[in-house]
Amino acid sequence: MTSATVESRRPAPGGTAGPRRGRPVPAGVLGALGLLTLVAVLELVPRLGLVDDRFLPPFSSMVSALVDEAGTPTFWTALGQTLRGWAIGLAVALVAGVVLGIVIGSLPVVRAATSSTIEFLRPIPSVALIPLAVLLWGNDMKSTLILVVYATFWQVLLQVLYGVRDVDPVARETARSYRFSPLTTVRTVTWPTALPYVMTGFRLGAAVALILEITGELVIGTPGLGKEIGVAQSSGAVPQMYALVIVTGLIGVVVNLVARWGERRVLRWHPSIRAEVG
């Protein structure tokens, strides 16, 4: 008997429990609705006079300022510079965080030996390191990059450490009993277990990297969106400033979409995903 794979006559509801409902509204539509709500709030709060529109202009003026900005090559150059710095910093931090996280997390001795140092270094804010970075690299991209890597690395590392801790003892014993090499154990047991944590680490890290990239540009003056925001701020150009802030926010939204998309791909087996894709 072959497996009776059957085209369901009508779309079968997902494998999970729950009251029978109509077809769910697609996530994309709901998400767009959410953003629309935000837009409405941003438009209405100043229009209704809840705050002075000179300090928080209505959304429409932010958009028109954004349209103006988008017409200048400076904006696009700045956007490109920001994205580049962000991507490089995030990539470095991810690789370093994952590799070190797995090594430290898998070896109890290393973990015990490094934990106090990690706790010490972790809360030192990147911003406190700005003078040192400038000292070494001026306002070069490297200054901002080091801030981005430093701040993002800890986010990823901590997530990976917690992920490694979550390995199911029975799964670990299975790997041990079949004498998997350490590398195979990492690849086939530790890594898949930690993956959901890594995904969260990626999402946390992506935002932190963006934040530090922008902050670095703003404070140090490395070219990029942050510098433009700084200029707008010190020029009293409120709508332009918010226009640029909206761009950073949108980068965040896009990054999350990519992360979620990737998650559906690599975590298809995980309870959180399989409950949804059915």
């Binding site: 002075d52 000179r54 300090f55 700005i130 000292l135 404070v219 003056g221 070219p223 200029v231 020029s235």
Partner: protein, 305 residues
């Protein structure tokens, strides 16, 4: 790195041949530095074989270490910060004037503003009130206290809070602070929202108080005196030109700031005078010592060449 730079043709200047010096100047992208942008555009640097590029940072935290370590050859900073730095033996030298107060009470690029309906009528009334300044223990508190003292109030009872200039108009409007020390373009923006100017703190401190200068590291000053000399000359020419052509100075703002043109037109520009004003600097140094910003009195000659 990019950033606005002067005319792209470096050679053919008035002064003799020699190689072109690539020079990075750390500046804050505000009105005060308009002359260097204007001078760069006019070719005042090029003709002295200096290819100048402006690197903007948010303040001393980014610029001073940059200059001290040679990442930038020159930097722009307020005088009090430099005095503090010098008092800590940071090896720096002032090389050119930055900008100064106009010296005209009520018509300066810096002002203390209050809400239109505020009971505060003069600096005297600031006693016991909260005033926002951009940096605590710096030129802001020093000069605001001078205004209060001059108006007959008790300067020691003024409470200061730190806010960024851009956030001050809102803070005044919403009553978060009683008064704010602002500089252009926020003086104009504050006025546009109806705020009142009650004092000109820089004017109250010293006639034509020079509040910022360009500086370099002692290392550069020693090893490349010729470059410093050429830079000073170019700066002086730029300052003079900017002072004489205020409309061009207002126009250049759009190349490195996002100041609204209508605001830019109305703003009071600072005074751009060549030459470092030693008495003015010494006044600020004395005030710094008096206010305990520095431990001992400082002779500003140490800052000069």
């Amino acid at each position: 790195a990019c950033g606005s730079s002067g005319s792209p043709t470096p050679s053919g200047g008035a002064s003799g041949g020699g190689s072109v010096d690539q020079v990075k100047v750390g500046v804050i992208p505000i009105v005060d530095v308009a002359p260097i942008y204007l001078g760069a555009k006019k070719g005042f640097f090029d003709k002295r074989n200096i290819k100048v590029s402006m690197e903007s940072g948010q303040g001393g935290a980014a610029i001073v270490p940059g200059v001290a370590s040679g990442q930038f050859q020159f930097g722009f900073s307020n005088v009090t910060s430099l005095i503090i730095a010098k008092s800590k033996n940071l090896p720096i030298k002032v090389v050119a004037a930055g900008n100064s107060s106009t010296g005209v009470d009520g018509k300066d690029f810096s002002a203390i503003v209050v809400k239109a309906d505020s009971p505060i009528q003069s600096a005297k009334d600031l006693a016991g009130k909260t005033v926002s300044i951009n940096t605590l223990k710096n030129i802001g508190d020093t000069t605001v206290r001078q205004s209060v003292q001059k108006a007959g109030g008790d300067p020691s009872s003024v409470k200061f809070v730190e806010l960024a200039f851009p956030d001050m108009p809102a803070a005044v409007k919403e009553g978060r602070v009683d008064a704010a020390w602002v500089v252009e373009p926020f003086v104009t923006i504050a006025k546009q929202q109806g705020d009142r100017v009650i004092a000109s703190n820089l004017v109250d401190t010293f006639p034509k108080l020079q509040i910022s200068t360009y500086f370099t590291s002692e290392q550069t000053a020693k090893s490349n005196p010729d470059l410093v000399k050429r830079f000073t000359e170019a700066m002086n020419e730029s300052l003079t030109y900017a002072q004489e052509h205020p409309d061009e100075a207002r126009d250049i703002l759009s190349s490195y700031t996002k100041i609204d043109p209508s605001v830019a037109k109305e703003m009071t520009l600072p005074l751009w005078e060549p030459g470092v004003n030693k008495e003015s600097l010494q006044k600020l140094a004395d005030l710094a010592a008096q206010e305990k910003l520095i431990d001992n009195k400082l002779d500003v000659n140490q800052l000069l060449n």
